[in-house]
Symmetry: C2
Subunit: 508 residues, 2 copies
């Protein structure tokens, strides 16, 4: 304990033999309230250095002040002079003090304290609906949306997260930690661990009709990283534009644009992307979601698939974003384009919709022409994904636990989808539901006459978070909302849609 001021002259460290006039120049140990008893035995120099550093930090020893001569402080503290010399030496080494010959030792630099209160814990003030829902959202929109509180969150993009298989994950982690060699904790293969690459190849064969050599699988930190790295590599190969579906994912468009690619829109109709328009645009690369178009939910129709493959065969590059293909309710999903055109399709998938976005694990299968550059880009990005989660995931994939989880999710999601369709019929008469055969969300469009951004804002003021369709569109579109159902209970869904209905009535 430090000694209260009135008593300090009787304290154990007040053995000053210099008078008060000295203190105007130098600082005595009494002023610092050094309590020798706190010093650990044998650790005097450490302790003294720390005490002095602290005093410099909090301003008791301001910059420009002079430390007591070593002899004086040593005698005050009743320690050997070597202890004080050592402490001063360390402070000098830190850059805090400087020896100035006969002017003694002077404080020259203080550690900086953070200014103001911490922001990490301060709850962000809820943004107003108008501030949040603007016609052209910024690059931080998804962070802002995530942080915005809402009683019923129907913003699309996540599976049922309450279903995350915590016990299976922990069991798999235990098994992995038991088997791991010490070398596995070192720097790893930037392409991913061989175990996960094999497991992903198996998963893709069973679930997506893709046959791929595990050596061609690149493990990445989710689809976001995949898009960023592929964009970088394409730019390195002279590609400056990547066409995107319109409507299409705002996140994907922002991510591609961040690499410097232009993202011209190609229309999507009820058969999928309009390949003739793509061909007419002259753009040589396109990002598509053939298994379940985002946000319309359209499955790319057979003739369009063939057309797209012919386009690719004629020199086009397809980036196939297979984001939620496993979530198909009526029958198995169509195989990935990649299964038929490995040389022209760069395929990417992730566990974000299968397990959890928080895991940040995905994969890329790149055409041979880009494969090496992509590995190099991944190496420079982060030297490869973290190893433990890769191995745990591989364990879940190979034990069948992930497929069981997917079956559970499908059953649950289907009930929630049905609840949402029912609620839309009831509370949003006149609205059209799109893309109900698969996925984690529905697109609901309206006859028009108002802005869907205003509708989303009005829903938000009623406690419901949704995504306006126009955020997904570069060209004018009918008003619509993209509504996630996977992560909410039927009760919440019904109430949420009813509140949207209320917002809609007040808007018109």
């Amino acid at each position: 304990m430090s000694i209260p001021a009135p008593c300090r002259h009787n304290g154990p460290v007040d053995r000053s033999n210099h008078d008060t006039s000295d203190r105007s120049k130098t600082v005595g140990s009494d002023f610092l309230q050094l309590t020798l008893a706190q010093a650990p035995p044998g650790g005097m120099a450490d302790w003294l250095t720390q005490q002095l550093r602290q005093a410099i930090t909090d301003g008791r020893l301001p910059v420009g002040s002079q430390l007591p001569p070593t002899r004086v402080l040593a005698s005050e503290l009743r320690v050997s002079r070597g202890v004080v010399t050592e402490a001063y030496r360390r402070l000098s080494e830190d850059g805090h003090v400087e020896g100035r010959g006969r002017h003694g030792t002077v404080v020259v630099a203080a550690p900086m304290l953070p200014t103001g209160p911490t922001q990490a814990d301060t709850p962000v003030a809820a943004p107003s609906a108008e501030a949040l829902f603007t016609p052209t959202p910024g690059t931080d929109i998804f962070d802002r949306i995530r942080q915005a509180p809402a009683r019923i969150d129907l913003f699309p993009g996540v599976p049922d997260l309450t279903a995350f298989p915590r016990s299976a994950w922990l069991r798999a982690e235990r098994a992995v930690l038991r088997q791991l060699s010490a070398a596995d904790f070192g720097y790893g293969d930037p392409r991913g661990t061989p175990t996960l690459r094999r497991a992903v190849a198996g998963w893709l064969a069973r679930n997506r009709g893709i046959r791929v050599d595990p050596a061609e699988v690149l493990i990445v930190a989710g689809t976001a990283q995949a898009l960023g790295l592929v964009g970088q590599v394409l730019i390195g190969h002279g590609i400056r534009q990547m066409a995107v579906e319109d409507p299409g994912s705002l996140g994907v468009r922002q991510q591609l644009a961040s690499t410097g690619l232009a993202t011209p829109p190609v229309p999507v109709d009820d058969r999928g992307i309009h390949v003739a328009a793509l061909r007419a645009s002259g753009v040589r690369a396109v990002a598509v979601t053939p298994a379940h178009q985002y946000p319309t939910g359209v499955v790319l129709e057979g003739e369009r698939r063939r057309e797209l493959m012919r386009w690719a065969h004629d020199g086009g590059m397809i980036l196939e974003d297979d984001y939620d293909a496993e979530h198909r309710y009526d029958r198995p999903p169509v195989p990935a384009l990649r299964s038929m055109l490995p040389d022209r399709v760069c395929y990417t998938g992730s566990v974000s919709k299968l397990l959890a976005p928080a895991l940040r694990v995905g994969w890329v299968l790149a055409p041979p022409a880009y494969r090496e550059d992509l590995v190099e880009a991944k190496r420079y990005a982060d030297l490869g994904n973290a190893v433990l989660p890769q191995l745990v995931l591989a364990h879940l994939m190979e034990s069948g636990a992930l497929e069981r989880h997917l079956r559970l999710l499908r059953r649950r999601h289907r009930r929630r989808r049905d609840a949402m369709i029912e609620a839309v019929k009831t509370y949003l008469p006149g609205a059209v539901v799109h893309g109900a055969a698969a996925g984690l969300h529905l697109l609901v469009t309206f006859p028009g006459g108002f802005s869907d951004v205003d509708l989303a804002a009005a829903a938000y003021t009623r406690g419901v978070k949704t995504q306006p369709l126009s955020w997904c569109s570069q060209r004018p579109t009918r008003p619509g909302l993209v509504l996630g159902y996977a992560a909410r209970t039927p009760t919440d869904i019904t109430e949420g849609v009813a509140l949207i209905g209320d917002a809609l009535r007040h808007l018109r």
Copy 2:
């Protein structure tokens, strides 16, 4: 089981009623060896689609061949015609087949099989010493080194990985999984979880003398990502060059160069980086390792620290790579430069040397001018680190487990360092040891007259992996080896150094 060829006409599916001449045009189910008994009850259409897809894949149904009419196949298989129609419809939707009116259904595209044997499992042929140790290593050198087998691995860069606290990690993971909310499994804060950012701020205060608001801590995927992101941001701010220490880390130099920054060398002497040379160079940014210079092990001397701070104060930008500062054996490490100059120092650290590189977790404290851009760069890089490992790490930091682990490592590393110093004295007479007061490696230099790349190659042929000093140098240097001791037993270290001694004798 499929039916062996001689018996197939008696098999359950050989109910063909078309003659052999038909088979030249269309393909019968006998040819496909469809074994109806394998079909799961109620899953006939799924099963048939899969079987046909498989046959298209492996060439039994080549592109251009015609499928049997639905009526025919249905009758052969004794299934309803609807099952076959459904299977054909799905194959058409996949893009594999096309209906051509009276020409029937024709195979138009086959999934591609990977060519050649898988490479993922094939052990890489050990590279020759000459191929591995070249004067100017390529960008994949660390991957090549890692994959190169060697009996005794003295390549620097990792702590004792056998000491990884597996049980503590698993216990922390269990606790985290128990406490986590469902929302925590969703998309997270790109800056990192508040819990880990608080824990890192605490760690930095206790161990590195840094006082920082947790809101200013950015969690990244290791120092590699930190360097890449900082490089990107600086380039965005018009900075084109970042001076580096010479000798200095090859990995750091490659990482910075990958962002497009030039990396002019500034000499390091036995007091640390030569600040006068830095000032004279006119470069406005520098990457330094003040606590324990890599690879020389020099602690930046007090006057040099002050000089460097004055340089920064005059407009310079310091990237402080605090890679292994916690590993100091004689006394506490000097505080980070960041603790005194938060506006001019971009600080980065990681758990790679504290726990394991495989975790891919690090942190950056950026000056205010770059903070927002850095968060944006991190968002685009991967939307933020994976959440679970962040929370587990926070748990280890806050429970004191990480500090206990560090104490254990220090004791163990010190013994290994002593064994290496002893071995160098015995087996490498005339060699000079540098930087023994801290860290995970020693630098050993030799009087000269030979190439250290040749020495490293000769050591490698004797089963010992090391890093030649010249890889760390942009300008000519004395020959030397950077030798990691932290991850090896004293026995291995002694034997490894003896083998280096043998290599040296044969080289001269």
